[in-house]
């Protein structure tokens, strides 16, 4: 009886970590592939962090563009970061997650205004979402990107 309980208490975290290791890693790979593809598509319509841009043509109209995404870490990354906390140093598994979230948010901002020629004053903000169960620390974060989408007046 006692050994069954021991297997359950040890087994569930191990299974969750393994699921994170394999499923989470493949989700991340696919996501990076899609990010790189879409970034190439939008390269001609840059998002800049300056307020003014030397536009090749006069600007016809402007509007606010917003994109956001909420991501969370898998159990494998959480497990790895636990080890990192002992020795210190960069937690690479978390930085790749936040990097993905920010790039995805910028892409969604661009996709929300498909006809825009450039995005001025692009801001990226990150905020943590507290959990109802009260687990603090890194878990779920939101990345928000917003900027002013401008359309050039290309004449007739």
């Amino acid at each position: 009886m006692g050994s069954v309980e021991l297997w359950i208490t040890l087994g569930i975290p191990v299974i969750l970590i393994l699921v994170g290791r394999f499923v989470g890693a493949s989700v991340e790979r696919n996501h990076y592939r899609s990010i790189i593809e879409r970034e190439a598509q939008f390269r001609a319509r840059p998002a800049v962090s300056t307020k003014h841009l030397d536009a090749p043509c006069p600007i016809q109209s402007a509007s606010l563009a917003v994109g956001s995404v909420v991501v969370s870490v898998d159990h494998f990354k959480r497990f790895l970061s636990g080890f990192r906390m002992i020795f210190g140093g960069e937690i690479r598994s978390y930085s790749s997650l936040i990097d993905r979230a920010r790039r995805e948010a910028v892409l969604r901002m661009k996709e929300s205004q498909p006809g825009a020629d450039a995005f001025l004053n692009t801001r990226i903000e990150t905020s943590t979402i507290s959990s109802t169960t009260g687990n603090e620390g890194m878990g779920t974060i939101e990345a928000l990107a917003y900027g002013t989408a401008v359309h050039y007046d290309r004449g007739p």
Binding site: L16, V19, G20, V23, G24, V27, E28, H31, K51, H52, P58, I59, Q60, S61, A62, S63, L64, V66, S68, V69, V70, V71, S72, V73, D74, H75, K77, L97, E104, L120, N121, R123, E125, S127, T128, I129, S130, S131, T132, G134, G139, T140, E142, L144, Y146, G147, T148, V150, D153
Partner: protein, 110 residues
């Protein structure tokens, strides 16, 4: 966003191609949202593999749209037809709830 002529929103300090004729000062809109249980449960399952939590993304997008429309309502009440220098901020006020604030400067453009 809705109503007669749509209000122009930008997050730079002008509206390109237009002149600002009058400033009405700061306008703001905010909302505090709690996650509901169903979404929290689905997110908990998704948490196992990590990655995007679509339910939360939608929830925050809805609240941001709500905050923006409150800001826009305040601006049009003042008689403005554009809000410039719009900023968004998020802060968590309590466990499981977050506040989303949108603010900017209401102006009249020509």
């Amino acid at each position: 966003m809705h109503g007669k002529a749509p209000l122009i929103l930008t997050n730079i300090d002008s509206v390109p191609g237009q002149h600002i004729v009058q400033h009405y000062g700061l306008v703001q809109g905010s909302t505090i949202r709690a996650k509901h249980f169903g979404r929290d449960f689905a997110a908990g399952l998704k948490n196992i593999v990590g990655g995007e939590l679509k339910g939360y993304t939608e929830l925050l997008q809805e609240s941001r749209a709500e905050a923006t429309s409150r800001m826009v309502a305040q601006a049009s009440e003042l008689g403005a037809n554009a809000v410039i220098n719009v900023r968004f901020t998020t802060s968590s006020v309590a466990q499981g709830a977050s506040e989303i604030l949108a603010y900017g400067t209401a102006v009249l453009i020509e």
